[in-house]
Symmetry: C2
Amino acid sequence: MKLDVFMSPTEMSAGDTQGRVVAVIDVLRASTSIAVALNSGAKSVIPAETVDDVITLSKQFERSEVLLAGERRMVAIPGFDVGNSPLEFTPKAVEGCTVLISTTNGTRALLGIQGARDIVIASYVNLSAVTAMLRAAARSDTDISIVCAGDEGHFSLEDATCAGRYVSSIINRASSIVTNDAAHACALIDGMYGDNIEKIFKDSSHGKALAEAGFGDDLVAAAAVDSHPVVPIYQERQITRLGPDRER
Amino acid sequence: MKLDVFMSPTEMSAGDTQGRVVAVIDVLRASTSIAVALNSGAKSVIPAETVDDVITLSKQFERSEVLLAGERRMVAIPGFDVGNSPLEFTPKAVEGCTVLISTTNGTRALLGIQGARDIVIASYVNLSAVTAMLRAAARSDTDISIVCAGDEGHFSLEDATCAGRYVSSIINRASSIVTNDAAHACALIDGMYGDNIEKIFKDSSHGKALAEAGFGDDLVAAAAVDSHPVVPIYQERQITRLGPDRER
């Protein structure tokens, strides 16, 4: 089977995801925040591209049922309940709620995926949980695509390095996997950083920008491997937790 | 100044090349072949996307003045003089000729560049010559973009690793250079391969495909660092050699 990485959604064409299990990575910070929210008891997360989309969506719910989340230039959107910091998605804040989240790169990546068998949201905080699901796909000979959300269409170091960690974890157990050049390169970069994930964030443009904007604690949270062991599945425009109660 | 790498032309927007010195890399094999052709005495090289474009262009010349070059699925186009193997661009074949070459990825990359100050064709065979030109740009505080031609819009290992070699060679001498994430990642990958360029081609999809198709000697030629020390400049739809007779 094939295991392909796409450095940004702009690299993908329809055939690259058709019939595949697709993992979308936006480490800083949407993927991480979504995993944290679902692990903290959110009922579901609905990603939207624009602030207006979030407002429109929210009208389908009672105000108490939803949490409005999102950022522009890293800061919470005025009038919203929270920003896009994983630390904000506490059980107290999200338990039983539907989280409506505006994220530019992550949402665009999700909307660009066509014909996938399953779409899962991947990050470091849910590494082993999502890897287990991807390994199961590999065992059943289903091709896998890992899509880096990137930064406004550009390559993003932390997404690529995280993709490399998934690649290494999957091919570790199977020998008949054919990887594309990007998967090979990402695995090389991951190997260089090893377990020093905070160093990746120190080297990445967006990691540096977050640190400078005072979100250093978010970087620590995003680097906490397996701290939020959920498998977030995107289906019919919403993300829910795959688990014993939602067996597929 | 800024030194940015783009993993494929699909990542670029107009602002990414505006006013900059831009290096385009398509190591296997267009960039390499263009450098070899100019170093072998070709008057100029005109890249075209389609076979029909080459035929149309050729009508502006006497037949003896042009060399028709290009490949589809790695093999020379029927009726053309040569394919896209650097070994074919000997002095005997190209001396004094205008080479009309059909290359898909390289041509698309060139046509996608908007508003650049200068566009140069880079590869391993003309590494030091092109690096000298890029360092001069860096010294005059001109931003630099390195564009990997990639493979049908996808990331290509050999282009990214070669880009990383350029990044390392340029930042080696200057400290006030800000790189994007892709430049950083490419430099890391280049550092891992070091001078073992043939290993890069063994790991890359397109390198493997060329070896399997019997073009192993092309890989040896493409890995020969500084074997063809020319600076190919793309201007007004043609590529000519920057040199003492064409001082800029």
